[in-house]
């Protein structure tokens, strides 16, 4: 007889709180270990209409999976991120057990040089070692050389694992990530008072959130910061996570020097339109938190880690540690709450949202390309200009930036809208508004001189770039393939310096 209410199991593992090896947990937690291993599944059977852990190239709408995905790819990504590492490689995410391998292999980091081009910060959301290193080097760690850490960990044993979410000593959920701890403090959310339900989402918010690298002027260089303060109030700590609030936030915290944008934050300058751009990254938490589920108190773990009994050794109920699309197991996830519905019905409702979001996302990207192209043409315009040409062009650029930020906020979010259907659609409508506005302003600046050159199908005017990589950019010939790539500077020719965690002789 038990009347106390259910209590979470408490463990005494004998492990130290700073344990970072995954394997160290295997023996005591064979069930969780077993589902955790399933994160290695990444075959075609794991695909859903828009998701699932298959690492196809997100821009490739030509080749069938696993290389591309004609039904869910976004063909203009390489154009829109031109000049930024994301244009070299960006893949559909797969399981947590691949995190280190995938970052070791990604072309976003410069493996052809001793300088990765991006800081050690990138390790933050991939390895259980991060907090060890932070303890060791302090806030200097963020701006240290990425490559120097390639060899300092095991590809599997330190990939996103137990110690990132649990205190190894007693397995209580914990926040291991420095940036989240600081972000929560800044918005006035007291982690000490977080409920168990809160923790079941906050552990994910360590990584599945938008971030930027801090400029030295504002504190430790290259530290990852979550831009949530603009709009946060004591009673609504997450009042600042909507895309317009964050866009306002980025009108500060940076070192842009361009007129009218002085001091704004920018990730890079787009070479075609010469616009200081923002890059959005995986704002799952920011979407979810005020969506129909998040607002109702449903947690990430409720859908992505639903209890399962299917696991040996003892078929006890455990949290499923295979983080993947809930649509691969609707019976075991959604249906605990939506018991009255069929799996087919639930899937169809998800698709009802996703199809519309995907369609509007592609339209938003087409308009965004048109906006860059308009500014490019207006820049090159030799004819008669509007007396306000300069002011109009600055406004146009601001709209290019704003429009791209808005669709990227949706594109980077991995549920194709399901985590917050209405907010997502609103964000895309705004994206389209700003991008269309940018093109119009550029036309005005040239007294409509460029109008003719913008007529017709944008996919023909500016062909989508299907393949691009650091190696391709090393060959000046390749830069001639597209009008847009002519704006790039060729990269120095060089052989690979790093292959995974092996340094190659040079």
């Amino acid at each position: 007889q038990q009347t106390e209410g259910p209590v979470a199991p408490v463990y005494k593992t004998g492990l130290k709180s700073d344990e970072t090896s995954n394997k160290a947990f295997e023996k005591q937690f064979p069930a969780q270990w077993l589902t955790y291993q399933r994160n290695n599944l990444d075959n075609l059977q794991q695909m859903t209409d828009y998701g699932g852990p298959v690492p196809w190239n997100k821009n490739d709408n030509v080749n069938p999976p696993p290389k591309g995905n004609p039904k869910a790819a976004q063909p203009y990504l390489k154009n829109l991120w031109l000049g930024y590492p994301f244009s070299f490689e960006y893949k559909k995410a797969r399981g947590h057990t691949y995190a280190i391998q995938d970052i070791l292999d990604t072309d976003r980091l410069n493996r052809y040089s001793d300088k990765a081009g991006l800081p050690a910060t990138c390790w933050n959301c991939k390895t259980t070692k991060m907090s060890t290193w932070h303890r060791e080097y302090g806030d200097k760690v963020w701006s240290m050389e990425f490559h120097d850490f390639r060899t300092k960990q095991d590809e599997k044993d330190n990939s996103i694992g137990c110690s990132y979410c649990h205190d190894p000593a007693d397995m209580k959920l914990r926040i291991d990530s420095v940036p989240l701890k600081e972000a929560l403090q800044k918005v006035g959310f007291d982690l000490a008072k977080a409920s168990r339900n809160d923790m079941r989402s906050l552990v994910c918010a360590q990584c599945h959130v938008e971030y930027y690298f801090q400029a030295p002027k504002y504190g430790p260089a290259a530290k990852p910061v979550f831009p949530w303060t603009n709009g946060a109030t004591p009673d609504k700590p997450f009042g600042g996570v909507d895309p317009e609030s964050i866009y306002q936030y980025y009108k500060d915290h940076g070192v842009v020097e361009m007129k009218t944008m002085e001091g704004w934050f920018a990730d890079w300058v787009h070479p075609v339109s010469k616009t200081p751009m923002l890059k959005a990254q995986h704002p799952e938490f920011e979407h979810f938190i005020n969506g129909p589920h998040g607002a109702a108190g449903v947690a990430c773990a409720d859908c992505h880690m639903a209890y399962t009994r299917s696991v040996d050794p003892d078929k006890k109920k455990t949290s499923n540690h295979q983080w993947t699309s809930p649509l691969l197991n609707i019976e075991g996830t959604c249906k605990q709450c939506h018991q009255d519905k069929t799996p087919e019905y639930l899937k169809e409702r998800v698709l009802f949202t996703q199809r519309k979001v995907y369609d509007q996302l592609l339209k938003a990207q087409d308009l965004s390309v048109r906006a860059h192209e308009a500014v490019r043409l207006a820049d090159a315009w030799k004819g008669e200009k509007n007396p306000d040409y300069d002011a109009l062009m600055l406004q146009a650029r601001e709209n290019v930036r704003h429009g791209q930020w808005m669709w990227d906020y949706v594109s980077a979010e991995n549920s194709v809208g399901f985590h917050n259907p209405v907010k997502t659609m609103d964000t895309l409508a705004r994206s389209q508004e700003y991008s269309a506005g940018a093109a119009l302003l550029a036309m005005q600046a040239t007294n409509y001189g460029i109008g003719k050159n913008l007529e017709g199908d944008i996919r023909k005017l500016v062909p989508p770039i299907l393949e691009w990589s650091r190696e391709m950019q090393m060959d000046p010939e390749n830069l001639k393939k597209y009008v847009w790539t002519t704006y790039l500077t060729p990269l120095p020719k060089s052989g690979k310096v790093w292959d995974g965690n092996k340094k190659l002789t040079q």
Binding site: T3, P6, P9, A299, T318, Q336, C337, H338
Partner: protein, 159 residues
């Protein structure tokens, strides 16, 4: 707002008065039979007010239970005062015709229910953090009254 407050001066419902007597009998005599009889679905459903709950429960995985397997504390010392209080509240509401449009389990009552979920399902909930949410029914939202299903499939129009 738009719904006028209930009128509190309507004539007495004699069936309900009889029920009051029944409850008093239960509380007073505490006979084993009446204690059990007033736990059963049939008794609860003798009030039209309870038809909805009865109907949905009857279609659920828990149909073989008695209402009070969930709706009253199982330890007798707590059960008698709870039943007397809940029972007389129900009856008073019925007699005075002060029945709300939508009946909700009170916080106290929800805690009683919760304890009962735990009581029966103790073996199931040992290995995981089943206190992830305040109540089991925060996840098991359909147990047992199918609260998200269309009204005509679970409500009786002329209750």
């Amino acid at each position: 707002m738009s719904n006028a407050p209930p009128n509190r001066t309507s004539p007495t419902n004699w069936f309900a008065v009889a029920s009051v007597l029944a409850v008093l009998l239960v509380a007073g005599a505490a006979g084993a039979w009446s204690m059990q009889a007033t736990d059963q679905a049939a008794f609860c459903a003798s009030c039209h007010t309870m038809d909805t709950s009865f109907w949905t429960f009857g279609k659920s995985g828990h149909a073989k239970l008695a209402c009070n397997d969930c709706h009253a504390p199982q330890n007798l010392a707590a059960k008698i005062p709870f039943k007397a209080q809940a029972g007389s509240a129900d009856v008073w509401a019925t007699v005075s015709k002060n029945i709300p449009d939508v009946i909700h389990a009170s916080k106290m009552h929800k805690d009683v229910i919760q304890a009962n979920c735990v009581r029966c399902h103790a073996p199931t909930i040992q290995t995981v953090a089943m206190d992830a949410k305040p109540y089991c029914v925060d996840c098991h939202r359909s147990v047992p009254h199918k609260s998200r299903t269309p009204i005509s499939t679970r409500k009786v129009a002329d209750g």
